[in-house]
């Protein structure tokens, strides 16, 4: 029988001194956090830095995870902020947002050249959006959050978020059409 402990139970164990229980939370959320970070930051190295930061900050501040049942949403909010910070630092360093080669290589496994070109086009187009548009689009369509959840997470109003999503869609449509069809 497989017994799965709830997030709240794991959080309570960690707060009770069982540091190893945090590994259960890391394993449970790494993929979701990793996907968001890669989509937002565009390369695996920055994404892994953001995810690692989020987990460690989450651990240090675990007493502030209230109620513990909401650990997943709470941790995700930390990641969203880490991605903003790392993205801003990267912008200051004037680095170009590109797919890291290793990430391309991993993503390419089992894919045809056409698949790879499509994935590259999406990553490129996503990177052309403003941070706010990209964040809104990914939260809405990749993470499938409601506008109310997005508002709570980002601090932006629902109307502003709807506008960002609409502009992101419009921009992506334009960029992808141009990239794919010249």
């Amino acid at each position: 029988m497989v017994r799965t402990e709830s997030d709240a139970a794991l959080v309570r164990r960690v707060l009770g001194g069982d540091t190893g229980a945090y590994a259960g939370l890391v394993a449970r959320y790494r993929d979701r956090l990793g996907r968001y970070a890669v989509r937002m930051l565009g390369n695996a190295a920055d994404a892994e830095e953001a995810v690692q930061d989020a987990f460690v900050r989450g651990y240090r501040s675990l007493v502030r995870c209230v109620p513990p049942e909401r650990f997943g949403a709470w941790l995700f909010a930390i990641l969203v902020n880490r991605c903003r910070t790392i993205g801003a630092q990267r912008a200051r360093r004037e680095r170009t947002v590109v797919l890291e080669e290793a990430a391309v290589e991993r993503a390419s496994v089992g894919h045809t050249a056409a698949d790879t070109a499509w994935r590259d086009a999406i990553a490129w187009a996503l990177a052309q959006l403003t941070t706010e548009q990209r964040e809104a689009f990914v939260l809405k369509y990749v993470e499938e959050l409601s506008y109310e959840e997005m508002s709570e997470l980002t601090g932006a109003g629902v109307s502003a978020l709807k506008m960002r999503v609409a502009r992101a869609r419009e921009e992506l449509r334009h960029l992808l059409s141009e990239e794919l069809h010249g």
Binding site: T19, V26, G34, V56, S61, V66, P67, R106, Y141
Partner: protein, 186 residues
């Protein structure tokens, strides 16, 4: 706004695919976690507060301040769900307070339970419940606080996090949740 678009739909489908992170990530996280100080659940802050209060001081409530506080309460009631933290001798909600006793207020009609959660109670969800005096939706609690800067928020019915809109947000907060800040001067 969310009209179907085959190109966008295809992009979304691709973006929802899982990504592969370095398999060593979990190990690196746990190594760092093992080195970090353990997250503590304790009463150190409460003990500090008690020690500070035991030294003795007088908090005065002026008639003018009381009237102004009553006016502030009325304003809060008119605004529906609204929260505020202030001290007994302070006329209006403000982020910098100068007394030992801070009153937290949230107007939350329909709520069955409200707690205030923050730095001063180690973010324990149930440590500081607010009470509703007359069923009018106004929840209050008075908390003794030593001088310092405190981040806090309200938890409604154990699930809904509400920032106190009458005080500044904690701009240095990196944890996503919208918190407020109250500063008590020494």
């Amino acid at each position: 706004m969310d009209e179907r678009d085959p190109l966008i739909d295809r992009a979304i489908e691709t973006l929802r695919e899982s990504v592969r992170l370095d398999p060593g990530l979990d190990r690196r996280v746990m190594e760092e976690v093992e080195r970090a100080p353990a997250p503590r659940v304790g009463a150190r802050r409460w003990w500090s507060a008690w020690e500070w209060l035991r030294r003795g001081r007088t908090v005065t409530v002026s008639p003018l301040g009381g009237l102004a506080a009553a006016a502030a309460l009325a304003a809060l009631l008119l605004m529906g769900r609204w929260g505020a933290a202030w001290v007994e001798d302070t006329a209006a909600p403000t982020e910098v307070l100068e007394a030992a006793t801070v009153q937290f207020v949230l107007v939350a009609p329909g709520a069955s339970m409200v707690t205030v959660v923050g730095d001063f109670n180690d973010w324990v969800a149930t440590a500081t419940p607010l009470r509703q005096a007359s069923g009018d939706g106004m929840w209050t609690v008075t908390v003794p606080l030593p001088p310092g800067r405190y981040r806090y928020g309200f938890l409604v019915d154990g699930t809904e996090w509400v920032r106190d809109p009458s005080t500044p947000p904690a701009l240095d907060d990196d944890f996503g949740r919208p918190n407020s800040v109250v500063t008590v001067r020494g």
